[in-house]
Symmetry: C2
Subunit: 916 residues, 2 copies
């Protein structure tokens, strides 16, 4: 099989074997983009190499023959003493992994060819500077010699010549550097051997630590290998008419349509990527080389039209001529992704559907990244570049390892670095945001942060790190690890301490994209909330109703809890009814407010679900109070028994209490005694009640409809409150759609039992108000048995709403709280489970069960409405699964509603699949 392809022979369909970069170069060549000639060695060769650790002779032969062709095209000679051919050797995997693998430039130089280069360019300084760069790169990457050894030599020579910058070194100095370099790095003189060794190094770099980490984080496969691109060198560092740069066809941070990027005059690409020199914005090129700027802008336009997506180009100017070294789909922030997708629809580059598929639900979530509360007052202590938008607060950390450890523990940290490197990825991932002293808007930190959707301020000149002391100065302040700091990547501001953050407003493009999602999707999106504020937010975020309103949260409000406790502690039904009568108007008002806020959208009210003991203090709490009370009581008794006690008390007490006598008199008054006795009695009764309510497995306990059947008067009160609330709103002229949902149902009898009461109460209320209430009656499906009885349940229930949290617990026999603490991490780590089933719905188990329940439920009632109100209802992978098994709507936290809207649209666009 052919293993080496010149650019002209590469087709874009060959991406898997020539890699992304190779495919791009081939494609660019074919549409007339000025690309330096070159060829690609396939990913197959890499995979083979990694198996055998040896480049086979056949491959060497192919490479040499391709070199011959290259010599012809360039009219140059590889290893020649006149017009020597120099090449770059780069990695290029099928999926781009920027900066993760190795690159070697200027290959082909040796003691002989360097002279030819000097002669040809008439620039000996350039030739020897290029040579020493080559040796350094080859030495560190191919031969594994530490960079600092080279740096030491360079510094020594510079010192000797009193040169401040590299540019100031003399030609003799450079020659000396080369000589010294070659002492520590034995570079083969033979260019062909250099070539093979470099190719081998790139192959190997596929498996270096940072590449492996990157693939793990991105979920990329490990067995694909990288292709190697061998390309004619062009020199941005040839002279002052040369330079190199990186340009995006649109702004990757904001999505704005503009040529965006940066360049360095008289420099090679590595100088930009490494962040060692701070470059100029690409717009500055307009002044320096207006023609080249125009050519670059036209090329950008051409590339974008061709690829129908925003491009990230590397370019070099060699003595006034523009070369494009590579192009790829540009990484962008979530906000940019949305704007670009929407704009491109406007520009007729892509369709609405493509736009919807191009933005990920993750982008929507990231676009919701918090901003600093506009009402907040704060002190800006430094400014850097607005490298990746959004604001974040956290504790300062200087070490990526440390950031990773703390981040995994759930701590919020801000990583501060001189500049970041690919080795820091795990630290960036674990941080809330990144602040760097050096590097531009396309520096490593900036690129990675944008990819991860994390705020980044780069090139902050006010930041000085003292690694030894483990501190940093920012502006006039000194900070140490653990101090709080806030960064705003949208403004580049660095702020002392923590400031309050708020969710941002959607951009108009986001609103537009989501409105397209709404046009497309066939899966409804509702919100889970139980407050009026939540309901209002839900509407704002585009929810089509409330899918789960938990009534127990209303019971927990400070003005309700005493009444709820009164109800629980009641000794008999009569006392319980008294408490419930007090609750009825409050509960009715809750329902009215929420129904009013949502009208005319549906609101699903779930009857009381949680076990009663959750409304009472814990045994520990009561025991503690009880022992205080007893001590107090004993003290009062003691005081009563000792006449004239006030006189023997510590005289110091008189300082605080002008009249100790009076205080004692007061304290020993019988009423305190009576009071403490009464309290002790009450607390003792409560303790007894709490003990009687204790359960071995509360998750499988006395809750939901089981409670409703035990104490029918509680559900009666709730049902009546909902009917009366609805009736009163209808009287006001509002259209309301209340839905009543019974939790924890496992038999049809339970549902029938509640339904009978609903019918009785509805008749009473409807008669009283002279109004019909259009209430829907349904059941939560969160018990496995309910799935098995779905066909029977849907005889009564007009809708099902899957409680996927509890259903997952029951299906796995996992107690979420225990499992996540004890064995779930090990399970996902050992691959026993792919995902935590409480985050992403378990397709094969819980999904299958749901699918059966839906099928059986609809057999009895074809128009059965089916929703999901568990946590997974707002998670994109799960939303796809729910759509596929026939769910009608998902319901999630109001904040996740926009994410769910897009995910629902994407699921609809992909069409239903047989997933189980």
């Amino acid at each position: 099989m052919k293993e080496v392809y010149p650019f002209e022979e590469v087709k874009k369909e060959m991406k898997d074997i020539v890699g992304n970069k190779g495919a791009q170069l081939g494609e660019m060549s074919s549409i007339g983009i000025p690309v330096p000639p070159g060829f690609v060695i396939t990913t197959r060769s890499c995979v083979n190499y990694l198996k055998r650790k040896k480049i086979p002779d056949s491959l060497k032969k192919e490479i040499l023959s391709a070199m011959k062709e290259l010599e012809k095209k360039n009219k140059r000679k590889f290893g020649g003493s006149e017009k020597p051919l120099l090449v770059s050797i780069r990695s290029g995997a099928p999926v781009s992994m920027p900066g993760m693998m190795d690159t070697i430039l200027n290959l082909g130089l040796n003691d002989k060819t360097v002279k030819g280069l000097a002669r040809e360019t008439g620039n000996e300084w350039f030739a020897y500077d290029t040579y020493r760069r080559f040796i350094q790169m080859f030495g560190s990457i191919v031969l594994g010699i530490e960079e600092k050894n080279f740096d030491n030599i360079l510094e020594k020579v510079k010192k000797g010549e009193k040169a401040k910058t590299d540019q100031e070194i003399s030609v003799a100095g450079l020659k000396k550097v080369v000589k010294e370099y070659k002492k520590i790095a034995s570079i083969p003189e033979e260019p062909e051997e250099q070539l093979f060794m470099a190719v081998e190094a790139v192959f190997k770099s596929w498996n270096n630590k940072r590449a492996r980490n990157y693939r793990k984080y991105q979920g990329l496969p490990d067995d694909v290998g990288t292709a190697v691109v061998v390309q004619t060198m062009v020199f941005g560092n040839l002279d002052d008419k040369s330079g190199t740069g990186v340009a995006f066809t649109r702004n990757p941070a904001t999505g704005k349509k503009e040529l965006y990027g940066e360049f360095l005059l008289n420099a090679q690409g590595e100088d930009i990527v490494s962040g060692k020199r701070t470059p100029q914005p690409v717009a500055a090129l307009k002044k320096v080389f207006p023609k080249i700027y125009d050519e670059l802008a036209k090329t950008a336009e051409k590339l974008e039209k061709h690829y129908r997506n925003m491009q990230d180009m590397e370019f070099t100017i060699q003595h006034g001529k523009l070369y494009i070294l590579q192009t790829r789909t540009g990484k962008r922030t979530a906000t940019a992704a949305i704007k670009i997708a929407v704009d491109m629809v406007g520009e007729k580059l892509i369709t609405k559907k493509e736009a919807l598929m191009r933005v990920t639900p993750d982008d929507i979530e990231k676009a919701l990244h918090p901003i600093i509360n506009p009402e907040e007052k704060y002190e800006v202590i430094a400014k850097g570049l607005d490298a990746s938008p959004g604001a974040a607060s956290g504790k300062i950390v200087f070490d990526p390892e440390r950031a990773s450890v703390l981040g995994r523990k759930g701590e919020k940290v801000i990583l501060i670095r001189e500049e970041t490197t690919p080795d820091d990825i795990h630290g960036i991932t674990a941080s809330q945001g990144v602040l760097t002293a050096r590097g531009g808007i396309t520096s490593h930190a900036a690129v990675v942060a944008r990819g991860l959707g994390k705020p980044c301020v780069s090139g902050c000149e006010g930041l000085v790190i003292d690694e030894e002391k483990g501190t940093c100065r920012i502006g006039k302040y000194t900070f140490k690890e653990g101090d709080m700091l806030t960064i705003d990547g949208s403004s580049g501001e660095v702020i002392k301490g923590e400031v309050s953050l708020v969710p941002p407003k959607f951009t108009k493009e986001t609103d537009k994209l989501l409105s397209w999602a709404d046009e497309v999707r066939k899966l409804g999106v509702r919100a889970n909330t139980d407050t009026v504020e939540g309901a209002k937010l839900a509407r704002k975020e585009g929810a089509e109703g409330i899918g789960l309103c938990r009534t127990e949260r209303m019971f927990n409000a400070p003005d309700r809890l005493p009444i709820v406790r009164e109800m629980i502690l009641a000794e008999n039904k009569k006392e319980r009814m008294k408490a419930l009568e007090k609750l009825l108007p409050l509960q009715k008002n809750d329902f009215k407010e929420i129904l009013r806020a949502m009208h005319p959208l549906p609101v699903t009210i779930r009857l009381l679900d949680i076990p009663l003991h959750e409304f009472l203090p814990s045994t520990e709490e009561i025991s503690r109070e009880l022992s205080y009370l007893k001590e107090f009581d004993a003290a009062v008794s003691l005081l009563q028994e000792i006449p004239g006690i006030s006189k023997v008390l510590d005289p110091k007490l008189h300082v605080y209490l002008p009249s100790v006598e009076k205080f004692i008199d007061e304290l020993t008054n019988e009423k305190y005694h009576v009071l403490s006795k009464k309290l002790i009695e009450e607390k003792t009764a409560m303790l007894k009640k709490v003990r009687s309510l204790e359960e071995v497995n509360p998750m499988l306990g006395h809750r939901g409809v089981r409670l409703g059947i035990t104490y029918p008067e509680i559900y009666d009160m709730q049902i009546r409150a909902l009917y009366e609330a609805s009736a009163e709103l209808i009287k006001e002229g509002l259209e309301v759609h209340p839905e009543l949902m019974v939790p924890q149902v496992c038999t049809a009898q339970e549902l029938k039992w509640v339904f009978k009461r609903v019918r009785k109460i509805s008749r009473e209320v409807e008669k009283n108000y002279g109004i019909k209430v259009p209430l829907k009656f349904g059941t939560m499906i969160e018990v496995v048995r309910a799935c098995m009885r779905a066909g029977k349940l849907s005889e009564i229930a007009e809708f099902f709403s899957f409680g996927t949290n509890d259903l997952s617990q029951a299906t796995f026999s996992f107690s979420r709280e225990d499992a996540e603490k004890k064995f779930l991490p090990l399970y996902t780590q050992r691959g026993i489970l792919q995902d935590n089933p409480f985050s992403i719905i378990d397709r094969k188990g819980v999904g299958r069960l749901m699918s059966i329940a839906i099928e059986w439920g609809r057999k009895t009632r074809p128009d059965l409405k089916v929703g999901v109100c568990g946590e997974q209802g707002g998670e994109p992978n799960s939303i796809h699964i729910f759509y596929n098994i026939g769910v009608d709507y998902v319901s999630c936290s109001p904040f996740r509603v926009p994410v769910a809207r897009l995910a629902a649209a994407q699921a609809t666009l992909e069409g239903k699949k047989e997933v189980i």
Copy 2:
């Protein structure tokens, strides 16, 4: 539709509309049994009546026309002043409900006809005695007048005449009684009106409390209604050549083939049933009326041949002529049921299959009712009739209500009554056994106790109850409520105090029946046990292997627990391995012994299932010990600090400790201090560990294979122990069939993970021993997700064993412990659930889930072996369901194995049904 049928027109197929009694009478007429003529009013009429509360005119017309026919047959006139026709009115439901509904005798008497009866019989006394009986019966049953009002009148007249018994009252006295009776009971003079009112009363009695209770207890439907049998009266109390009796065609207590029963001369049936007079055994009839005895014996034979079952006949002799009043399938004890079924096969009356279907699994269980330990010495304080076999001990209770309350609480009680009535049923049901002072072997107490399989001693003359004081004398002792008493219904003995009871040996008939069951059944029966003793018992009871051997019970043995705790408290894998190495030989020996005891039958070993904290003491326990230790330590410190402490110690101490000085010296020795410090440290560590292992929902916790994956070395040890045990036994020449079962599996990955280790260890062991171990690898199915993944699991598992306890908990989301305490009783009481799903498998939910799992499992592996090892595996209803859904074997407690064998045979005979 016809609503009244004369006996001659009744076919036995008409049972549903003419009732059991009516059908029997019709059938008896047709085979030439001497039955007094009569007719039946259908159950339909009853159901209609209960709806409308009125007898329609059409029915009245039919009844009167049937009476006309009856007058012709008897050549008598209903309400005639000469030869008046008297009839009995009895209830007769499609399923016999003895004594539950009302009966009226002698109907047709009034002031006019009584004179005709006196003239005809020449016995004025008899006529008026019959008349006063009729008034009393009609008055109490139809008119609802309390019996004691009649009794008071009778007693007053008796007192006035100084008569000791009813028989001694004069004719004038009887006439006075009638006159007084009629003052309090206004009996209609018109016989037709009497008849309609009586029929109405019988209809109504279908819904009286005791009938409803009986139906509830027996699981009979409430909407069927009773038929009414109207039959010509014959008089057992006419003269001394008359009498009445009850006879069984075989002994209902033992099953022996003999005419068994009792009779009273010159008496009516009610005198026997009520237990007011103690009758003679039926054998005595041989002497008094040998011809009639022969006729009765022949009739018995005829009836048994006809019905192919043991019969319970009521007969009356009227002036030397035998009448059979009714016959029905005789109730019998479990032992009798088994013997009769097996004997009848021998007599070629029925087939083996019929015999198998005729005995209930309940009978097998009852036949296992305990007997008094033959080695026990005890004092017999009285003797009564051996009315229902078996022995029982319990606390004395005199009141059925009280017995019911205590019984439901789980207390063992013996109900002591003068005699029992149908109103006492709930008390008998709740007791361990019944002791009565009066009544024979067919008295109410005896019949009911035999039906329920409870021991009963009746007619115990040594028993005198003092209701006022709430005490009783038995022989020379006085007892009060709560005192312990033992009765032996097989010998009639009453024993003071509690004696130890043992399970009985099976009769040879039981063994035979079970061997037939084994021939027939296609469902295997195994036992759950984890001891050698259990294994031996299991074999004896007919188990075909061990279906569940729980290894954790072995870990709990006193010699293991310290090592197990060492393993749990180990700080690292190395320490844990050390403890496991100590456990390995012990565990191996466990397995060897059990495999040896069962060879060559299969033994299913389940890997460790329960969470580790169950092997550790509770936090409370450790905290307590810890505080003792700290106190001790403080005391030792104190003693060390006070020199010469021994001198100030309480001088009394010297009495107990001859040398206090030495004791103190000893105690204050540093080594104790060191020891207590060390213990405190250990306990503190243990407390910490226990706290770290605590779970919110232990039922859904870190157990089973989850534990195995977390600490692989534990399962490794167990797997190795099983392989080595098997290999060593095979070397000895034994055939063993070990089966390894993984608990709590919910994903195929878990099973694969264990399977890999099994393969590795098996290769090692098989290589070491040079032997192949024929081990089967399977999984417990007790997590719902495992059911959903059955098709994947059976790729690896060679067998499934359903853990129906945990599976039911997960399917219902019920924590059994909590549910049975908090809401399950209410659920069954309110009809939300028919049965406790932990006793009888829930067909519609859990059964359906199992059925899906079996189907999917067998799709992948057609020869997948499927067992059930949950508690429901030994319960007959559940066994039928398991057989129907394709289970291969059930496994239950060794004691329940015989029950399961019969239930399995019956399920097989009934054939598979679509049950879900």
